[in-house]
Symmetry: D2
Subunit: 403 residues, 4 copies
Amino acid sequence: MADVNKVVLAYSGGLDTSVILKWLQETYACEVVTFTADLGQGEEVEPARAKARTLGVKEIYIEDLREEFVRDFVFPMFRANAIYEGEYLLGTSIARPLIAKRLVEIANQTGADAVSHGATGKGNDQVRFELGAYALKPGIKVIAPWREWDLTSRERLLAYAEQHAIPIERHGKKSPYSMDANLLHISYEGGILEDPWAEAEESMWRWSVAPEQAPDQPVYIELSFAQGDVVALDGEAMSPATVLATLNKIGGAHGIGRLDIVENRYVGMKSRGCYETPGGTILLKAHRAIESITLDREAAHLKDELMPRYASLIYNGYWWSPERRMLQSMIDASQAPVNGVVRLKLYKGNVSVVGRKSDDSLFDASIATFEDDAGAYDQKDAAGFIKLNALRMRIAAARGRSA
Amino acid sequence: MADVNKVVLAYSGGLDTSVILKWLQETYACEVVTFTADLGQGEEVEPARAKARTLGVKEIYIEDLREEFVRDFVFPMFRANAIYEGEYLLGTSIARPLIAKRLVEIANQTGADAVSHGATGKGNDQVRFELGAYALKPGIKVIAPWREWDLTSRERLLAYAEQHAIPIERHGKKSPYSMDANLLHISYEGGILEDPWAEAEESMWRWSVAPEQAPDQPVYIELSFAQGDVVALDGEAMSPATVLATLNKIGGAHGIGRLDIVENRYVGMKSRGCYETPGGTILLKAHRAIESITLDREAAHLKDELMPRYASLIYNGYWWSPERRMLQSMIDASQAPVNGVVRLKLYKGNVSVVGRKSDDSLFDASIATFEDDAGAYDQKDAAGFIKLNALRMRIAAARGRSA
Amino acid sequence: MADVNKVVLAYSGGLDTSVILKWLQETYACEVVTFTADLGQGEEVEPARAKARTLGVKEIYIEDLREEFVRDFVFPMFRANAIYEGEYLLGTSIARPLIAKRLVEIANQTGADAVSHGATGKGNDQVRFELGAYALKPGIKVIAPWREWDLTSRERLLAYAEQHAIPIERHGKKSPYSMDANLLHISYEGGILEDPWAEAEESMWRWSVAPEQAPDQPVYIELSFAQGDVVALDGEAMSPATVLATLNKIGGAHGIGRLDIVENRYVGMKSRGCYETPGGTILLKAHRAIESITLDREAAHLKDELMPRYASLIYNGYWWSPERRMLQSMIDASQAPVNGVVRLKLYKGNVSVVGRKSDDSLFDASIATFEDDAGAYDQKDAAGFIKLNALRMRIAAARGRSA
Amino acid sequence: MADVNKVVLAYSGGLDTSVILKWLQETYACEVVTFTADLGQGEEVEPARAKARTLGVKEIYIEDLREEFVRDFVFPMFRANAIYEGEYLLGTSIARPLIAKRLVEIANQTGADAVSHGATGKGNDQVRFELGAYALKPGIKVIAPWREWDLTSRERLLAYAEQHAIPIERHGKKSPYSMDANLLHISYEGGILEDPWAEAEESMWRWSVAPEQAPDQPVYIELSFAQGDVVALDGEAMSPATVLATLNKIGGAHGIGRLDIVENRYVGMKSRGCYETPGGTILLKAHRAIESITLDREAAHLKDELMPRYASLIYNGYWWSPERRMLQSMIDASQAPVNGVVRLKLYKGNVSVVGRKSDDSLFDASIATFEDDAGAYDQKDAAGFIKLNALRMRIAAARGRSA
């Protein structure tokens, strides 16, 4: 067992990380620093302070990181139109690098030599936390209790809690799902979802109404972009976190952003997950729409071809890697002209783009028109264009190559 | 002007291609063979026979290509989950290579030395027709009247038609949109769509009801896949064309598959297009879902990374190119295990996957479970996995590289 | 410690794997089956039989796999023009999947429940052996003694050998380098090479003369290709292994194929390696040359863009993965027309292509000529080709986008 | 024929562009401005002044662009390790964007409304000149005489020259090859090279001795890099153009940098080209070597995977495109740590890396060593690393998927 003096724990204030807190103190005979962040998960973070104190913690960090989260993590990712495996908007993945960064920074401030987290040994989050920590502080020790301890069943965990006088909240039934939430999304795993043929229960979803329950009238909104990021909603300037929170509220009310998928974890297994990402779903659609009129074709295609790789990097926990930053340089270099307004219709689960305009638009109606274009485009050029693009295939066909 | 003896014309029977027919006869003093195909566009093709006869055509080809179209073009493309620019399902693009192939085959049968089509000099379709024709018959002459003639306005075209006694159908108002349809989709361009800020009028859409008008009750369907292709709907075996036609009907009734985008044409301009692809929208969602449980992670990611390139090849008219066929080999090589059933919920514009099952499933609940896995997975392995994946970043950080 | 009944050991007959053999018997109290393969490493394999017998082995497999190795592993890889990190011809990497396959097959035949190898815990070879074994027999146990035992220094290893009466050959000095050889190459690591600034000693190299010592006269050879593979040398038909062995001899005599690089291992560290790949160096150059006249441009470019990924897969040990096989399908689909003859000049370390010809050549002198081409190519087509390719950039520039 | 007032001509001072000069004056009745650049082609540029004056040119631009050429075009390209089709170092391609830029700038300065060049309608250079011109000045007219005039044979050209008193230099025999040269390379096309089976004559090569004629003693050099660019040779600081010129001299003297290939032109045909790139060949090898110890693995692999696309962009003339600049942003973002010294041995055509060192080295001998590493690396981590990387393949194999 490694020699540890002080460990910074990513602490939610809930039962599991409270047990971890105590277990760290006992097992490593070390001091524990707690770090609790408000990333928009929708639960109060301040109560974690009293709980940590009760457990004997002296250094307690409780922080509101919502703006930093959206500005420096969510928005850069949306510039890439990142989607993992064609569906998943990376809501959990994108929060981990920020937590890893703060864990390391607090370790530096408090002189801690280790960090710890409550992610299991089967999931992606352990990888995301730890790759981040190692990339930012190579000598750091990482303690992942779920990979080490013998509290491998719910019963044992509860028994440990009782033994150590850790309060177990018994108000209401415990959710059968493993959940994670932040300003970008809420996720559900486990329970009946472990059967991929079983439909998710309506009662599971927390952030959005069912499309069936959404209003019968659509709502139209306008999103303004500057350099690829949303800066205003319906003409009103908003901070990154505010705009995302607002879109979550509107989107959720209209039944937008539910997703039910089987995804491939980095550790090698498939897993079923359900997600609600109301604001992100709107944001992605809108960003693509503003790019559609402002971005050069080949710039857009280059982004599209590299997007799956960029998304995998984030999913797999490589936010702090040099290759993610290289790709980000390339993506950001494309976003200067991505300015303008997108108009969207939200209705019972649907997000439809109905208009887009920009002072940086490359859409040229005088060229694209079916009407007379006054010579803006010479149709005869197309003959040569096609002829030369066909030349290699014509030569091959003339040599008898079957097409 | 090239010397032409006989030309095969892609003939719809409508006004424009009737004018082209006459213009070819006059301009090139050549015989015209007409080719009219039923690709599921929803209009009768047989009336083209009488029209062609009236215009003096002796060799008339009228063919039902619906099964070949879906089986050999649409389905292979959907194995790739192909989407152009993140949105467009390539409905027009995928029909052109089949028409090009038949034009060339008929030219070979009839001894024609040229082919002709009614696509304009500004669009993608001219490229798709002609690249196909050149790839399949390198010495073929291609006549693209819209790039050659001086009938550059509607007025001149109508005048020419009247002069040459070509019947102009005047029942109802002419649509303000340029449209194209086949079993996969119907498309709209032109008119008010030339302003990308203007919302499409509800009256424009032809294949689907508005989500607002769709039934208040969802419908659930099950699609069965064999080697990546749909083979049955709700347990009933169906031919490729039948399944797509049926999905169009169901999807359209539920307001599914409308799309409004600005896309980048291969000839260099941006253009606004609206599309209805009810069946294709369902098909894409279902195919991804069945792949999600049957396809290896890296196989799926490789497909995802190459998909944009594959989609561009089809969009740009390179179906008959060696590189498209190479990619198809790779894609098809992955589809043997893509078998099973996907359950979907259709409701007012939404297609939601609610279940998927397969005898070839790689989803292993005994490993993925949050419950005790009886040793199927050793969580301690994750520590080494992360440590070695982090090693290069740790070395860099230890050298002072800022992450 | 896992319960093991019988283990198949990749056995070279040398000291290290003899110690492993004994250690396995002692540590696991299990039966050991030895497998020794001739992959063209240039050492007799038959002596391994007596050594294994002395150590009490009853089931001894000694096999000549040279033809299978070149035909089914080396040649498919060369169809891809695979090079890792711009330089390395993957000589060690490509042999491992074949050994993994035979280990598993022998385990199946002999009823063994484990396999074992002599690769260390720092290198790539452990990964290659084990990924192969797991992919081919998921329940197999893998024993990697270097990761388990405490014989972590040369001294301890020798002491163990003496204790257990394992003969230590003392003829000549032990090489300071860690070496690996097969028909494709010989490699050197360790010793002074661990300083990347130190030049390799001339005495290290074993397969090739220094360019300075090579003949003063060049030699010309002709290689004939069929479907991407070499089938004849100077017009004489040769089996895969024979052609590679012959090219090694000729190439080595002319000082061809030495390489000195720092490469990135899959386990996360950089390492210095020196390689001699005489035949492979010639083969790669020749294959590119025959492709240059027989392969379509875009087919070639697609191969080039995916090559680094394909090479990484082989380097990292993923030969038996679905994604490698998908890429191989794509590559092989391109090789049908890769037929013809390449003429090369070999001189003091240089391999120069001086001629290439093929019945499947796409080189068309009548089009490419600087002389009059009799109308085979209409130069005016180029104007339209350029105009439309420039259109998107012209529109952007007209909007004030700085290029 | 377009209405042209003043045209800027890329003027070499040779016969062909002198004929073009006169032909432009005659055909377009316009003023001609000449632009002659020293890009290191090895011919005096000053004599072009008198010739242009004789032909009545009033505005004559003669410029030494060597430093700008190497600093802003060659060096950025080498940061990418760009090679087209596995072999070609892009010597001609990389000079064209600079010429296009100066043509446009001079057009702006002199109020010209057109530019002109002497590239033929079959080659890549017309595309490179014109895409650059259009991207930088969208309304510019481009005149490509070789695509327009009827001087389609050498005889007609000479006759035109005589008619118009254009001096034809008859000293020595005209080379049978079409050549292009600048500081990066000299190229040869045409003549007997149009037969790809014919070996290039020794007399053709101008910049390098044959390896057979090179010194019998090798020479060692050291190249120092800063942020990916060479800044010193053997410890002596040098400007970009000086270092390249010096490497050309040394490399040429040692028979380095000859290349004989069949390449795929952007306009659709294959063509045979021979190239001498002595300095560039050394530079590429050295840059890869310094990257090998200073660049992160995944950063290097990302560069390698995108390199073919980057190289094609330059080959095809898209230097001034947004996608080339996006890729450049990504590449340049990786080069900050690419600092250090590479030691190379040059001998009769061979460039061998024999050492590399850097303060930014990521090579860590204490980890990579075959000797005892004092715990820097825990070999047991490899077991978990392999197990999880194998997991997806094990699950598939357990389901009966054949590997």
